[in-house]
Amino acid sequence: MRKFFVRNLPGYAFLTPWLLGFFLLALGPMLISLYLSFTKWDMVGDPQWVGLAQYEYMFLKDKRFWQSLDVTFTYVILAVPARLAFALMIAIVLDKGIRKIGIYRALYYLPSILGASIAIAILWREIFNIDGVVNAVLINFGIQGPNWIGNPDTSLYTLVVLAMWQFGSPMLIFLAGLRNIPTELYEAAEIDAASKAKQFFSITLPLLAPVLFFNIILQTIEAFKTFSSAFIISNGDGSPADSLLFFTIYLFNEAFTYFRMGYASALAWTLLIIIGLFTAVSFYTSKYWVYYENERD
């Protein structure tokens, strides 16, 4: 018994703040929302138990649910690779003996600091308008571009571009990762007459795999949870024509605009399970492609 305490006391002592926070701020609320997902609750009266009805409606009848899945998955599939590729490209250019790297690093991080302010929403509309900057450039090539944000066929791409533009944090993480690749490896490859492209694919990428993995996981979770930027650019409701109906925006509107907290909770749990599955699969497959230098534990 004494041994049990000696063994566990320090660990749990240090874990106490987190455990408290976990139970009070995460687990408790999540269980409440799990309960709510089996009820109908308009946030004013008392919740009414409806069993699986919310989930049934979601999967069998709700076209907008499937639309929101479509939008979210398309976004995740486009934006995450685009942002990471962009971040990696810039990081590689910055990593190779550039003077004044600090200035560029700061400049490139700035858009990420701007986050999802009202200013960005207004600006983004100005840029992608029918007579905005993008079309002004395109007209020089004889192309009359559409209204990028207003057109349901193109609106999602403007958000992908926004995601690319705010590539600051993955870039920083890549930069740190590149720092840790020993130069000797490139010198050895140079002697082995490997081309730059070959060097990238056979040295940089494999050695960066853990960093890449970390970035992919975090960025994908973030992308699934995308809210602020899409919210302000789509007028808060996923317009035009539901083409920006991200899962979180749908969820938010169901809860806070249409007072369907029960249904919103069911949506939330569905999202949680989707992200959870993705993460589990990523971790499971990672051992086949992520190479750790010092495999331990």
Binding site: F14, L25, G132
Partner: protein, 313 residues
């Protein structure tokens, strides 16, 4: 082009007699070096041009915003120029005092909340990370998995239950709902970051300290913390930026304008169906970025170091 020049040189070199080669060696190597310098500086120039072009692309929105902050109200929309026809600097002065409560108060509130939150994050997350990375106890893996899962929770769902909790505690319209969760390690990202960092520190240090008579508590304080300054700085800066910009929690929990934080105050400028004050809103937006940019610029080297040492390799 430069490559062929060098190749020619080398051909010439080969054709010359050995003696001539010796006498000319110094001169030729000087020439070769000069060529290489030229080629390298040309490459560097290209790189700088490329990076500079991108930087401008990156910067344009910020410049536009700064321009909008001094433009006449009717010039802001439908106008992509970053050079205003007239400079309304008074947007800044007027914006600062436009509300019932001056921005001085909003800044003071924001700093109070942000600094307390950063401290809370650093203490509580490093506690949890130390336990996960260094101590042994039952169910460790189970808790770790749960901790990772909290990263995935969509915030809007827990909003209502959390609100009810804080309401029951009588904490609404105080800073407690904003600050206390940070003292309870609510932000799992930082725990994860620190766990990665702590794992990189040699375990022998802990063991040496154990033999030197340190309890786990003292090891945390006397060994792990002093060695984790870069990681602490990284977490501190990220949490500074995120808390400073956080808007949803202050919106939900703060009622009295005297308690508002800067991002919340910015939302007071714009109304959908009557007179808005966009110029002033942009002026204050620009000012609200200043602390964040300063923190980033001053500490960015530490961030790189912090991430670099966090074992993400």
């Amino acid at each position: 082009m430069p490559d062929t020049t060098i190749a020619n040189h080398e051909l010439n070199l080969a054709s010359q007699s050995v003696e001539a080669k010796n006498t000319n060696a110094a001169e030729i190597s000087k020439q070769l070096r000069a060529n290489r310098h030229k080629r390298e500086s040309r490459q560097a120039l290209l790189k700088h041009l490329f990076l500079g072009f991108f930087a401008i692309l990156m910067l344009y929105p910020l410049l536009w915003m700064m321009a909008a902050s001094v433009k006449p109200e009717n010039e802001i929309f439908g106008n992509l120029s970053i050079w205003p026809s007239a400079f309304h600097w008074d947007n800044y002065a007027h914006g600062w005092n436009r509300m019932q409560v001056s921005f001085t108060t909003f800044y003071a509130n924001s700093f109070l909340v942000t600094i307390l939150s950063v401290i809370g994050n650093l203490i509580s997350c490093s506690f949890a990370a130390y336990a996960f990375a260094r101590l042994t106890f039952d169910l460790k893996k189970f808790w770790f998995a749960l901790m990772m899962m909290t990263l995935m929770i969509p915030y809007h769902v827990v909003l209502i239950p959390q609100y009810v909790l804080f309401l029951e505690l009588g904490w609404v319209d105080t800073y407690l709902p904003l600050v206390v969760p940070r003292f309870l390690a609510a932000d799992a990202f930082f725990i994860f970051l620190m766990v990665q960092f702590f794992r990189q520190l040699p375990r022998e240090l802990d063991e040496a300290a154990m033999i030197d008579g340190c309890s786990p508590y003292k090891i945390y304080w006397a060994i792990i913390m002093p060695l984790s300054l870069p990681a602490m700085a990284t977490a501190g800066i990220f949490s500074f930026i995120w808390v400073w910009e956080d808007f949803l929690a202050p919106l939900i929990y703060l009622n009295d304008m005297n308690n508002y934080t800067v991002p919340l105050a910015l939302r007071l400028f714009v109304d959908q169906d009557s007179q808005s004050a966009f110029g002033q809103m942009f002026a204050m937006s620009v000012l609200s970025l200043v602390p964040v940019i300063l923190v980033f610029v001053i500490f960015q080297k530490l961030i790189i170091k912090g991430i670099g040492m966090s074992g993400l390799k």
